[in-house]
Subunit: 147 residues, 2 copies
DNA sequence: TTAATGACGACTATTATAGTCGTCTATATT
DNA sequence: AATATAGACGACTATAATAGTCGTCATTAA
Protein backbone atom coordinates (compact mmCIF):
# COMPACT_ATOMS: atom_id res chain seq x y z
CA UNK A 1 0.00 0.00 0.00
CA UNK A 2 2.67 2.47 1.03
CA UNK A 3 6.36 2.32 0.29
CA UNK A 4 8.74 2.06 3.21
CA UNK A 5 9.80 5.62 2.51
CA UNK A 6 6.30 6.86 3.10
CA UNK A 7 5.88 4.81 6.24
CA UNK A 8 9.24 5.83 7.65
CA UNK A 9 8.50 9.45 6.80
CA UNK A 10 5.23 9.39 8.68
CA UNK A 11 6.78 7.71 11.69
CA UNK A 12 9.62 10.23 11.73
CA UNK A 13 7.21 13.13 11.46
CA UNK A 14 5.18 11.86 14.37
CA UNK A 15 8.30 11.53 16.47
CA UNK A 16 9.45 15.02 15.49
CA UNK A 17 6.05 16.38 16.37
CA UNK A 18 6.24 14.85 19.81
CA UNK A 19 9.66 16.33 20.38
CA UNK A 20 9.12 19.64 18.77
CA UNK A 21 9.66 21.73 21.87
CA UNK A 22 13.03 20.18 22.68
CA UNK A 23 15.21 21.64 19.93
CA UNK A 24 16.66 19.84 16.91
CA UNK A 25 16.59 16.05 16.79
CA UNK A 26 19.52 14.06 15.45
CA UNK A 27 19.04 11.77 12.48
CA UNK A 28 20.92 9.16 14.46
CA UNK A 29 18.45 9.38 17.34
CA UNK A 30 15.42 9.21 15.10
CA UNK A 31 16.98 6.28 13.34
CA UNK A 32 17.41 4.30 16.53
CA UNK A 33 14.11 5.26 18.09
CA UNK A 34 12.05 4.34 15.07
CA UNK A 35 14.19 1.51 13.80
CA UNK A 36 14.86 3.17 10.47
CA UNK A 37 18.19 2.56 8.66
CA UNK A 38 20.14 5.75 9.22
CA UNK A 39 21.37 6.40 5.71
CA UNK A 40 17.94 5.75 4.34
CA UNK A 41 16.38 8.08 6.84
CA UNK A 42 18.80 10.78 5.70
CA UNK A 43 17.30 10.79 2.22
CA UNK A 44 13.80 10.77 3.57
CA UNK A 45 14.31 13.71 5.90
CA UNK A 46 16.02 15.64 3.15
CA UNK A 47 13.01 15.19 0.90
CA UNK A 48 10.72 16.32 3.67
CA UNK A 49 12.90 19.36 4.17
CA UNK A 50 12.80 20.24 0.48
CA UNK A 51 9.05 19.91 0.71
CA UNK A 52 9.06 22.62 3.34
CA UNK A 53 7.93 20.46 6.23
CA UNK A 54 11.19 20.31 8.12
CA UNK A 55 14.10 22.56 8.92
CA UNK A 56 17.62 21.35 9.56
CA UNK A 57 20.83 22.66 11.00
CA UNK A 58 24.28 21.28 10.35
CA UNK A 59 27.14 21.00 12.77
CA UNK A 60 27.23 20.46 16.48
CA UNK A 61 23.90 20.94 18.14
CA UNK A 62 22.25 20.49 14.78
CA UNK A 63 19.50 18.17 13.69
CA UNK A 64 16.00 18.26 12.32
CA UNK A 65 12.89 20.05 13.48
CA UNK A 66 9.32 20.39 12.37
CA UNK A 67 8.81 23.60 10.46
CA UNK A 68 5.05 23.67 10.24
CA UNK A 69 2.39 22.91 12.79
CA UNK A 70 1.22 19.29 12.87
CA UNK A 71 -2.29 20.34 11.94
CA UNK A 72 -0.90 21.95 8.78
CA UNK A 73 0.80 18.83 7.49
CA UNK A 74 -1.50 16.67 5.43
CA UNK A 75 -0.76 12.98 5.19
CA UNK A 76 -1.71 13.18 1.52
CA UNK A 77 1.25 15.45 0.91
CA UNK A 78 3.68 13.01 2.47
CA UNK A 79 2.31 10.07 0.54
CA UNK A 80 2.38 12.00 -2.68
CA UNK A 81 5.97 13.03 -2.10
CA UNK A 82 7.28 9.47 -1.83
CA UNK A 83 4.82 7.31 -3.70
CA UNK A 84 4.00 9.83 -6.37
CA UNK A 85 0.58 11.02 -7.34
CA UNK A 86 -2.24 8.56 -6.96
CA UNK A 87 -2.19 6.53 -10.14
CA UNK A 88 -5.42 7.72 -11.56
CA UNK A 89 -6.20 7.03 -15.19
CA UNK A 90 -5.60 9.89 -17.54
CA UNK A 91 -9.20 9.65 -18.61
CA UNK A 92 -10.31 10.71 -15.15
CA UNK A 93 -9.29 14.27 -15.61
CA UNK A 94 -6.98 15.48 -12.92
CA UNK A 95 -3.47 16.77 -13.06
CA UNK A 96 -2.26 13.28 -12.35
CA UNK A 97 0.53 11.73 -14.26
CA UNK A 98 0.71 8.02 -14.84
CA UNK A 99 -1.81 6.88 -17.37
CA UNK A 100 -3.96 3.92 -16.53
CA UNK A 101 -2.78 2.40 -19.77
CA UNK A 102 -2.91 1.93 -23.51
CA UNK A 103 -6.61 1.94 -23.97
CA UNK A 104 -7.49 4.72 -26.36
CA UNK A 105 -9.33 6.19 -23.42
CA UNK A 106 -12.64 5.21 -24.86
CA UNK A 107 -15.44 7.07 -23.16
CA UNK A 108 -17.11 3.70 -22.46
CA UNK A 109 -14.18 2.01 -20.74
CA UNK A 110 -15.60 0.22 -17.74
CA UNK A 111 -12.48 0.67 -15.66
CA UNK A 112 -13.11 4.38 -15.39
CA UNK A 113 -15.80 3.97 -12.80
CA UNK A 114 -13.63 1.90 -10.45
CA UNK A 115 -10.66 4.18 -10.90
CA UNK A 116 -12.66 7.29 -10.29
CA UNK A 117 -14.46 5.98 -7.23
CA UNK A 118 -11.31 4.62 -5.72
CA UNK A 119 -9.51 7.87 -6.28
CA UNK A 120 -12.27 9.68 -4.43
CA UNK A 121 -12.10 7.29 -1.51
CA UNK A 122 -8.38 7.36 -1.11
CA UNK A 123 -7.73 10.99 -1.57
CA UNK A 124 -10.70 11.83 0.59
CA UNK A 125 -9.16 9.80 3.35
CA UNK A 126 -5.60 11.07 3.00
CA UNK A 127 -6.60 14.69 2.52
CA UNK A 128 -8.62 14.66 5.67
CA UNK A 129 -5.89 13.28 7.93
CA UNK A 130 -3.19 15.57 9.27
CA UNK A 131 -0.11 14.88 11.28
CA UNK A 132 -1.94 16.15 14.33
CA UNK A 133 -4.46 13.32 14.08
CA UNK A 134 -1.67 10.78 14.13
CA UNK A 135 0.13 12.49 16.96
CA UNK A 136 -2.95 12.45 19.14
CA UNK A 137 -3.58 8.82 18.26
CA UNK A 138 -0.07 7.81 19.22
CA UNK A 139 0.03 9.51 22.56
CA UNK A 140 -0.07 7.54 25.75
CA UNK A 141 -3.68 6.98 26.58
CA UNK A 142 -4.81 9.04 29.55
CA UNK A 143 -5.92 6.99 32.50
CA UNK A 144 -9.06 8.40 34.05
CA UNK A 145 -8.65 7.88 37.75
CA UNK A 146 -11.81 6.26 39.05
CA UNK A 147 -13.24 8.67 41.66
CA UNK B 1 -2.83 1.31 -8.08
CA UNK B 2 -3.88 -1.89 -9.78
CA UNK B 3 -1.65 -4.38 -11.53
CA UNK B 4 -2.22 -4.94 -15.23
CA UNK B 5 -3.61 -8.36 -14.37
CA UNK B 6 -6.35 -6.82 -12.32
CA UNK B 7 -7.16 -4.23 -14.95
CA UNK B 8 -7.17 -6.75 -17.76
CA UNK B 9 -9.31 -9.09 -15.69
CA UNK B 10 -11.90 -6.41 -15.09
CA UNK B 11 -11.98 -5.42 -18.73
CA UNK B 12 -12.34 -9.04 -19.81
CA UNK B 13 -15.14 -9.62 -17.32
CA UNK B 14 -17.02 -6.61 -18.58
CA UNK B 15 -16.70 -7.83 -22.14
CA UNK B 16 -17.82 -11.33 -21.16
CA UNK B 17 -20.79 -9.86 -19.36
CA UNK B 18 -21.81 -7.96 -22.45
CA UNK B 19 -21.59 -11.08 -24.56
CA UNK B 20 -22.98 -13.54 -22.11
CA UNK B 21 -26.00 -14.55 -24.14
CA UNK B 22 -23.99 -15.40 -27.25
CA UNK B 23 -22.25 -18.60 -26.14
CA UNK B 24 -18.56 -19.07 -25.28
CA UNK B 25 -16.07 -16.36 -26.21
CA UNK B 26 -12.63 -17.20 -27.57
CA UNK B 27 -9.55 -16.06 -25.71
CA UNK B 28 -8.25 -14.88 -29.06
CA UNK B 29 -11.26 -12.65 -29.63
CA UNK B 30 -11.16 -11.17 -26.15
CA UNK B 31 -7.47 -10.58 -26.62
CA UNK B 32 -7.97 -8.59 -29.80
CA UNK B 33 -11.03 -6.69 -28.67
CA UNK B 34 -9.52 -5.53 -25.42
CA UNK B 35 -5.91 -5.25 -26.56
CA UNK B 36 -4.63 -7.76 -24.05
CA UNK B 37 -1.63 -9.98 -24.91
CA UNK B 38 -3.17 -13.36 -25.64
CA UNK B 39 -0.86 -15.56 -23.60
CA UNK B 40 -1.15 -13.24 -20.68
CA UNK B 41 -4.92 -13.22 -20.92
CA UNK B 42 -4.86 -17.02 -20.82
CA UNK B 43 -3.39 -16.98 -17.31
CA UNK B 44 -5.79 -14.35 -16.17
CA UNK B 45 -8.89 -16.13 -17.40
CA UNK B 46 -7.67 -19.35 -15.87
CA UNK B 47 -7.35 -17.70 -12.49
CA UNK B 48 -10.82 -16.26 -12.82
CA UNK B 49 -12.11 -19.71 -13.69
CA UNK B 50 -10.45 -21.27 -10.65
CA UNK B 51 -12.07 -18.53 -8.61
CA UNK B 52 -15.43 -19.76 -9.83
CA UNK B 53 -16.33 -16.70 -11.87
CA UNK B 54 -15.92 -18.21 -15.30
CA UNK B 55 -16.55 -21.50 -17.05
CA UNK B 56 -14.57 -22.73 -20.02
CA UNK B 57 -14.87 -25.39 -22.69
CA UNK B 58 -12.00 -26.78 -24.69
CA UNK B 59 -12.00 -27.79 -28.31
CA UNK B 60 -13.95 -26.49 -31.25
CA UNK B 61 -16.79 -24.24 -30.32
CA UNK B 62 -15.18 -23.74 -26.94
CA UNK B 63 -14.22 -20.58 -25.10
CA UNK B 64 -15.00 -18.76 -21.91
CA UNK B 65 -18.28 -17.69 -20.38
CA UNK B 66 -19.43 -15.91 -17.27
CA UNK B 67 -20.56 -18.39 -14.66
CA UNK B 68 -22.15 -16.04 -12.18
CA UNK B 69 -24.44 -13.08 -12.64
CA UNK B 70 -22.67 -9.73 -13.00
CA UNK B 71 -24.36 -8.45 -9.87
CA UNK B 72 -22.84 -11.35 -7.93
CA UNK B 73 -19.26 -10.59 -8.88
CA UNK B 74 -17.63 -8.10 -6.56
CA UNK B 75 -14.76 -6.03 -7.85
CA UNK B 76 -13.07 -6.54 -4.50
CA UNK B 77 -12.83 -10.24 -5.22
CA UNK B 78 -11.11 -9.66 -8.53
CA UNK B 79 -8.64 -7.20 -7.09
CA UNK B 80 -7.87 -9.49 -4.21
CA UNK B 81 -7.27 -12.40 -6.55
CA UNK B 82 -4.58 -10.64 -8.54
CA UNK B 83 -3.14 -8.02 -6.25
CA UNK B 84 -3.46 -10.04 -3.09
CA UNK B 85 -5.15 -8.94 0.08
CA UNK B 86 -5.09 -5.26 0.85
CA UNK B 87 -1.77 -4.69 2.57
CA UNK B 88 -3.14 -3.76 5.91
CA UNK B 89 -0.86 -3.80 8.92
CA UNK B 90 -1.07 -6.90 11.03
CA UNK B 91 -1.87 -4.74 13.98
CA UNK B 92 -5.19 -3.75 12.42
CA UNK B 93 -6.87 -7.02 13.10
CA UNK B 94 -8.20 -8.63 9.98
CA UNK B 95 -7.30 -11.86 8.31
CA UNK B 96 -4.85 -9.99 6.14
CA UNK B 97 -1.42 -11.31 5.47
CA UNK B 98 1.44 -8.98 4.75
CA UNK B 99 2.59 -7.22 7.84
CA UNK B 100 3.03 -3.49 7.72
CA UNK B 101 6.54 -4.04 9.02
CA UNK B 102 9.01 -4.76 11.76
CA UNK B 103 7.62 -2.48 14.38
CA UNK B 104 6.83 -4.56 17.39
CA UNK B 105 3.25 -3.56 16.70
CA UNK B 106 3.25 -1.13 19.54
CA UNK B 107 -0.28 -0.14 20.45
CA UNK B 108 0.75 3.51 20.08
CA UNK B 109 2.13 3.30 16.56
CA UNK B 110 0.85 6.34 14.71
CA UNK B 111 0.71 4.56 11.40
CA UNK B 112 -2.16 2.43 12.57
CA UNK B 113 -4.68 5.18 12.20
CA UNK B 114 -3.79 5.90 8.58
CA UNK B 115 -3.66 2.24 7.69
CA UNK B 116 -6.96 1.50 9.31
CA UNK B 117 -8.79 4.44 7.81
CA UNK B 118 -7.41 3.77 4.38
CA UNK B 119 -8.38 0.15 4.59
CA UNK B 120 -11.92 1.17 5.41
CA UNK B 121 -12.08 3.57 2.49
CA UNK B 122 -10.70 1.21 -0.08
CA UNK B 123 -12.48 -1.94 0.87
CA UNK B 124 -15.68 -0.02 1.33
CA UNK B 125 -15.36 1.19 -2.23
CA UNK B 126 -14.38 -2.10 -3.80
CA UNK B 127 -16.87 -4.17 -1.83
CA UNK B 128 -19.69 -1.99 -2.93
CA UNK B 129 -18.96 -2.18 -6.66
CA UNK B 130 -20.05 -5.20 -8.65
CA UNK B 131 -19.44 -6.16 -12.24
CA UNK B 132 -22.98 -5.05 -13.01
CA UNK B 133 -22.14 -1.47 -12.07
CA UNK B 134 -19.26 -1.46 -14.52
CA UNK B 135 -21.28 -3.09 -17.25
CA UNK B 136 -24.00 -0.48 -16.99
CA UNK B 137 -21.39 2.28 -16.97
CA UNK B 138 -19.74 0.98 -20.11
CA UNK B 139 -22.85 0.56 -22.18
CA UNK B 140 -23.57 2.85 -25.07
CA UNK B 141 -25.41 5.81 -23.66
CA UNK B 142 -29.08 5.74 -24.61
CA UNK B 143 -30.19 8.65 -26.71
CA UNK B 144 -33.55 9.95 -25.57
CA UNK B 145 -35.39 10.91 -28.74
CA UNK B 146 -36.68 14.42 -28.28
CA UNK B 147 -40.50 14.20 -28.64
C1' DT C 1 40.93 24.10 14.22
C1' DT C 2 38.39 20.34 14.97
C1' DA C 3 34.66 17.39 15.94
C1' DA C 4 29.97 17.00 14.99
C1' DT C 5 26.42 16.70 11.85
C1' DG C 6 23.69 17.19 7.64
C1' DA C 7 23.97 17.05 2.06
C1' DC C 8 24.28 14.51 -1.90
C1' DG C 9 25.44 11.68 -5.89
C1' DA C 10 26.42 7.09 -7.24
C1' DC C 11 25.99 2.47 -6.55
C1' DT C 12 23.85 -2.44 -5.53
C1' DA C 13 20.83 -6.17 -4.32
C1' DT C 14 16.32 -8.02 -4.19
C1' DT C 15 11.87 -8.48 -5.62
C1' DA C 16 7.62 -7.87 -8.30
C1' DT C 17 5.55 -7.20 -12.58
C1' DA C 18 4.48 -8.09 -17.22
C1' DG C 19 4.86 -10.96 -20.52
C1' DT C 20 6.59 -15.16 -23.52
C1' DC C 21 7.32 -20.06 -25.03
C1' DG C 22 6.56 -24.80 -25.61
C1' DT C 23 3.97 -28.59 -24.96
C1' DC C 24 0.07 -31.15 -23.30
C1' DT C 25 -4.97 -32.25 -22.99
C1' DA C 26 -9.78 -32.10 -24.17
C1' DT C 27 -13.49 -31.67 -27.60
C1' DA C 28 -16.33 -31.29 -31.89
C1' DT C 29 -16.65 -32.58 -36.44
C1' DT C 30 -15.92 -35.42 -40.37
C1' DA D 1 -10.32 -42.98 -35.86
C1' DA D 2 -8.28 -38.66 -37.53
C1' DT D 3 -7.84 -33.98 -37.37
C1' DA D 4 -8.28 -29.29 -36.38
C1' DT D 5 -9.57 -26.36 -32.70
C1' DA D 6 -9.11 -24.44 -28.35
C1' DG D 7 -7.96 -24.22 -23.44
C1' DA D 8 -4.29 -25.82 -19.47
C1' DC D 9 -0.11 -25.27 -17.46
C1' DG D 10 4.70 -25.06 -16.02
C1' DA D 11 8.90 -22.79 -16.95
C1' DC D 12 11.23 -19.06 -18.45
C1' DT D 13 12.88 -13.89 -19.24
C1' DA D 14 13.25 -8.96 -19.30
C1' DT D 15 12.44 -4.67 -17.08
C1' DA D 16 11.60 -1.70 -13.52
C1' DA D 17 10.84 -0.31 -8.83
C1' DT D 18 12.06 -0.63 -4.13
C1' DA D 19 14.98 -0.61 -0.30
C1' DG D 20 19.04 0.34 1.11
C1' DT D 21 24.44 1.29 1.10
C1' DC D 22 28.83 3.86 0.47
C1' DG D 23 31.93 7.53 0.13
C1' DT D 24 32.83 12.15 0.22
C1' DC D 25 31.83 16.91 0.83
C1' DA D 26 29.87 21.20 3.26
C1' DT D 27 28.55 23.65 7.30
C1' DT D 28 28.54 24.95 12.03
C1' DA D 29 29.42 25.30 17.22
C1' DA D 30 32.70 25.21 20.50
S1 LIG E 1 -8.04 1.88 -19.46
FE1 LIG E 1 -10.05 2.82 -19.08
S2 LIG E 1 -9.85 3.71 -17.03
FE2 LIG E 1 -7.76 3.34 -17.77
S3 LIG E 1 -7.11 5.29 -18.77
FE3 LIG E 1 -8.00 3.96 -20.35
S4 LIG E 1 -10.18 4.60 -20.51
FE4 LIG E 1 -9.37 5.34 -18.53
S1 LIG F 1 4.27 -0.17 11.82
FE1 LIG F 1 2.52 0.55 13.04
S2 LIG F 1 0.77 0.37 11.65
FE2 LIG F 1 2.40 -0.92 10.81
S3 LIG F 1 2.02 -3.01 11.66
FE3 LIG F 1 3.47 -1.94 13.02
S4 LIG F 1 2.17 -1.02 14.65
FE4 LIG F 1 0.83 -1.52 12.88
Amino acid sequence: MFSMKTKYAIKALIRLAHKRHNGPVLIADLSVEEGIPKKFLENILLSLKNEGMLASRKGKGGGYALLRRPEDIRIAQVVQLFDGPLAVPSCVKMSMVRSCNACGESPQCGLRLVMAELKESISGCLDRLTLLDLVLESEEPVFDPVI
